[in-house]
């Protein structure tokens, strides 16, 4: 597998666009379009229809390296696309499908991403649902990546990947448990980037600088060959590296998924 991809927080330019519901769609007033780019997937943007989407208007053509739909309620395999153009609807100059992956066995949706590094620059970028979704369309966060970076190396073998389903549990004297689900699932990846060049270590440092440590979340595609993106924070606000030898560094690297709240 190739090195994991990531997007600097400052290169997630979704919020710099003027966002409106695509023609034929109506934004849910309780879940406005601003929620799509509020960096909190737990608070989604919704439209009132089972098909449709949102127009991201940048005022001038911009090139995107990728788009990710973080936390959604889109049926696996649903016909979802990204359109791009410069003149506004309905003239379409570019279109590419976003594959909605199969959901996890526990009912959580998997967040898809699409590589657009080969696409030209456009003023309008429109992710939208063509098919009929099971319910009104809801997406927690839409990451519009102006640049995709590759980590200098992958995590060293032996890294830890964890997942937790929080519960509140009580037991009777006899050991009978009452368990209430919190309803959220969290994931972490903890490990070390081995044998990183100075430039690579500084790129990681720049990522944490750009994020303000744990401050701003960012997009990671752990395996570019897999259609799954994570919206994450660093588990720590500190950057450190071990200068193992000249131009060889060991960089601890640990991420936790930003809470997606409940399933949509």
């Amino acid at each position: 597998m190739g090195e994991s991809l990531y997007v600097l927080p400052s290169e997630n330019i979704g919020a710099s666009a003027s966002i409106t519901a695509r023609a034929g769609s109506t934004a849910d007033p309780n879940y406005p379009v601003a929620n799509l780019v509020n960096l909190c997937p737990a608070i989604p943007g919704k439209i009132l229809q089972t098909a449709g989407g949102w127009d991201f208007d940048y005022g001038a053509p911009v090139a995107l390296d990728g788009i990710a739909l973080i936390h959604h309620n889109l049926t696996a395999g649903l016909d979802v696309r990204v359109q791009a153009h410069n003149l506004g609807n309905p003239v379409e100059e570019f279109e590419r499908a976003i594959t909605i992956p199969a959901w996890d066995v526990d009912g959580w949706s998997v967040s898809p991403w699409i590589d657009l590094r080969d696409a030209p620059a456009y003023r309008f970028w429109t992710p939208y649902v063509v098919g009929v979704n099971a319910g009104p369309v809801a997406v927690g966060e839409i990451v519009m990546a102006s640049t995709l970076h590759s980590l200098p190396t992958n995590l060293a073998p032996g890294f830890t990947e964890g997942e937790d389903h929080a519960v509140i549990e009580h037991r009777t004297t006899s050991g009978v448990s009452f368990i209430y689900l919190v309803g959220a699932r969290s994931r972490v990846q903890t490990g070390e980037l081995p044998a990183v060049t100075d430039a690579g270590a500084e790129a990681v440092r720049d990522l944490l600088r750009d994020a303000g440590g744990r401050g701003r979340p960012f997009l990671v595609v752990p395996d570019p060959d897999v259609n799954e993106a994570w919206f994450v924070r660093s588990t720590t606000s500190r950057f450190s590296r071990q200068r193992f030898k000249v131009d060889v560094n060991r960089v601890p690297f640990a991420l936790e998924e930003v809470s997606r709240g409940l399933k949509l």
């Binding site: 309780n30 879940y31 909190c40 737990a42 608070i43 989604p44 919704k46 809801a138 927690g140 519960v167 509140i168 009580h170 037991r171 009777t172 004297t173 006899s174 009978v176 448990s177 009452f178 368990i179 209430y180 689900l181 919190v182 309803g183 959220a184 809470s259 709240g261 409940l262 399933k263 949509l264």
Partner: protein, 735 residues
């Protein structure tokens, strides 16, 4: 939409995702009038309206019934709120939205599935913000809400005094200085001594200045000065009579216009010359008053002004419509409700019985519970109330509420919806039970003796007297408690402010002593969330626990729930209550004795009063008239007594105490109780040949079907040649 429900089964299965959230209704000066903020401890975006994950911590919320002295317990909710986006900080300085005190909130619990299904959430608390939020750290705020009643105690816990209406110079411009600032009294029920040999009136009237009144309305003006004698601060049903030193003045009011009493001839003549239908009240500005007028030239006027003489009225007070035309409110429970609605929460100016609602339109007062209290009190013949609120001094909200609770022997507390409710009975065991092995959270069970609630003597006063004379008094005891504990424990004197009847006072005091005669056992324990869906305060929960009191612990002991605490963080509901084996509710004490013969037909006798007082009650038989027969024979002038078994709690022992004798030892007499309802013989006593009156206690078994039964005393002689006598002394219930 159905309301979300919680079950023990789903908790054990681990299939439920509870969500607790708060709605804060910020009423601003701009538009919209109310902005609703919906906050939880995590963001929830699956419903029609999102819940914003802003709450960092919750305090547990404890709702409780008032204590045996009638003191209401407060319920409060404290939350710590994240403000990293400075939403709150911004609102605190917003010209329209910075007024947070008195703004309301509601706390809800629901589940993820219920939101998806569109089910309504459960309300856990409704409250009012009593102080501006406090900073709880960097960009965090602490918000505190209190229940609607406690919030009336006053801002920042200062005692709010009632009534808020006073004798003010703005209304009574020339009132004497000695009266200015004094409370405006309210009269409940019928306060009267008209039945006395020499009635003198019982409600004092205060001189509050003068009013110029035209004595010749419709003709040449003849304006003259009248003294205003204030009766009370509301419209009254009737001023029956007014007395000066024991002399009635009503005839003067009927004969002329020197004394004006509402609804009398002179009153109508001056205030509604055309229709002679002047309302029985006077509105001054926005305030309504009941007053009597005395012409300043009348012989007693100077003494009334100087205070050397005082008028006293016999009267009927608050009524249903607020203009004197409605039905007199006689039920003490209904008077209590009126007090809450109009004095505590309202202004009691001209519109009575206001409907009180929270910001979301739900009721602030559970009026049905007050109606039920009337029913319950009626079942023991103790429903009628009468009294004067604030006849002389101000009373704190807290004390005033306690006075009403004591006078009704009821418990007050917020129901799950946050509305104030009263309870005076024991409910039937609820649909849920608590079993240590499968329900009760380990380490949460506690049980103790409530020594502070123990009493076997309950002294009381009643018949409030506003002439400066002593109130009537009495005392109820529980002899068994004194005997077995070998000491007396006297409760604080119970003041029945709104009780005039000796019988009612005795019945209520008997109820109180019955609750405390045997040291109550109290307990608490924690469960999951399902009690929120199944019970409320005053419910009864069968509880089984190895740590309960007893050789083998508790086995389905009925616990009356008197406090419910919900911990939103740990999702635990803690119940606290009393083992109801030692608790009597009003219905349990009722046990209607329905005498179906003689002049006392259909009389209702509170059994608990009989039991506590060891009173004798004529229930049939005779000490003078005997009989000769070897057949079973009805007692002389027997009374058929109905025992209302459903109203008597399980475990209580009902005993018919009889006495019998023979005229000669050669014969004998045997008594029995015949169950007319089932045509069975429920209990037969032992034969006695004694020629002296000897007592026998016949324990009446609870019928298998648990229904009320009709009983008759019968006797049988050993021979048919000599007289035997039998008399039913009393029927008693041992709690």
């Amino acid at each position: 939409m159905p309301t979300v429900s919680f079950t023990a089964t789903e908790a054990r299965a681990g299939t439920s995702t509870p969500i607790v959230y708060l709605e804060f209704y910020l009423e601003g000066l701009g538009s919209p009038a109310i902005t609703t903020y919906r906050w939880g401890d995590r963001s929830v975006s699956i419903g029609d309206e999102p819940i914003e994950g802003r709450i960092l911590s919750w305090s547990p919320i404890r709702r409780a019934l008032s204590n045996p002295n009638g003191d209401a317990e407060s319920t409060s909710l404290t939350i710590t709120v994240d403000d990293t986006d400075r939403l709150l900080a911004g609102l605190f300085v917003d010209a329209d939205d910075r007024y947070w005190i008195s703004r309301q909130c509601a706390l809800f619990v629901t589940t993820e599935d219920a939101i998806r299904d569109g089910d309504d959430p459960l309300v856990l608390f409704r409250g009012v913000m009593v102080e501006m939020p406090k900073r709880a750290g960097a960009l965090t705020w602490q918000l505190t809400f209190q229940d609607v009643l406690t919030s009336q105690y006053g801002a920042l816990f200062a005692e709010r005094m009632l009534p808020e209406r006073t004798i003010s110079s703005a209304v009574f411009t020339d009132a004497p200085a000695s009266q200015l600032g004094k409370p405006a009294p309210y009269v409940y029920g019928e306060k009267s001594d008209e039945g006395a040999a020499e009635p003198r009136g019982v409600v004092p009237l205060r001189y509050v200045g003068t009013e110029d009144i035209d004595r010749n309305p419709g003709g040449a003006p003849d304006v003259q000065t009248y003294l205003r004698l204030l009766v009370c601060a509301q419209a009254s049903k009737e001023i029956t009579e007014v007395y000066l030193n024991g002399s009635a003045l009503g005839w003067i009011a009927d004969a002329g216009i020197d004394v004006l009493i509402p609804d009398r001839v002179g009153w109508h003549a001056l205030f509604d010359t055309i229709d002679l239908a002047a309302p029985p009240y006077r509105d001054i500005g926005s305030q309504r008053w009941t007053m009597v007028y005395v012409h300043s030239g009348l012989w007693c006027a100077d003494d009334l002004v100087s205070g050397a003489a005082v008028l006293y009225a016999n009267m009927q007070g608050i009524e249903a419509t607020g203009d004197g035309s409605g039905t007199l409110i006689t039920s003490r429970a209904a008077q209590f409700l009126w007090f809450l609605q109009n004095i505590v929460f309202g202004t009691a100016n001209t519109v009575p019985l206001s409907t009180l609602e929270f910001a979301d339109g739900s009721d602030q007062i559970d009026e049905a519970s007050f109606a039920q209290l009337t029913t319950d009190l009626t079942s023991i013949g103790a429903q009628v109330g009468a009294g004067v609120f604030a006849p002389e001094n101000f009373v704190s909200v807290r004390d005033a509420i306690a006075e009403w609770c004591r006078s009704c022997q009821c418990d007050l507390g917020p129901n799950q919806g946050g509305a104030l409710a009263v309870h005076a009975t024991l409910s039937s065991p609820s649909s849920m039970s608590a079993v240590d092995a499968t329900d009760v959270i380990d380490g949460t069970f506690d049980v103790w003796h409530a020594n502070d609630r123990w009493c076997n003597i309950a002294p009381y006063v009643y018949g409030a007297n506003y002439r400066g004379e002593a109130w009537l008094s009495g005392s109820q005891t529980n002899p068994n408690s004194i005997t077995h504990y070998k000491r007396t424990r006297r409760a604080d004197e119970v003041v029945f402010t709104y009780v005039d009847s000796a019988t009612v006072a005795a019945a209520l005091a008997a109820l109180k002593v019955s609750r405390g005669a045997f040291v109550p056992q109290r307990c608490k324990f924690g469960l999951g969330l399902w009690p929120l869906s199944l019970i409320d305060l005053a419910s009864t929960v069968p509880t089984t626990h190895f740590d309960g009191l007893g050789a083998t612990g508790w086995d389905a002991v009925s616990v009356r729930v008197e406090a419910i605490e919900f911990d939103p963080t740990r999702l635990i509901v803690t119940l606290e209550g009393t083992n109801r084996d030692n608790y009597a509710g009003i219905l349990e004490s009722a046990g209607v004795c329905d005498s179906q013969t003689g002049a006392d037909s259909n009389r209702v006798v509170p059994l608990i009063a009989l039991a506590a007082a060891n009173r004798q009650q004529d229930l049939g038989g005779s000490r003078q008239v005997g009989g000769r027969s070897t057949d079973w024979t009805d007692a002389y002038e027997y009374r058929d007594v109905e025992i209302n078994w459903p109203s008597i709690r399980a475990g209580a022992v009902v005993t018919a105490v009889i006495e019998r004798r023979t005229v000669h030892a050669s014969t004998s007499v045997t008594a029995r109780l015949y169950n007319l309802s089932d045509a069975t013989i429920d209990v037969t006593g032992a034969p006695s040949s004694s020629t002296n009156w000897t007592e026998e206690a016949l324990v009446i078994p609870r019928p298998a079907d648990g229904q009320g039964k009709l009983y008759r005393l019968q006797w049988q002689g050993g021979t048919a040649t000599r007289d035997v006598f039998v008399v039913w002394i009393r029927l008693q219930v041992t709690p």
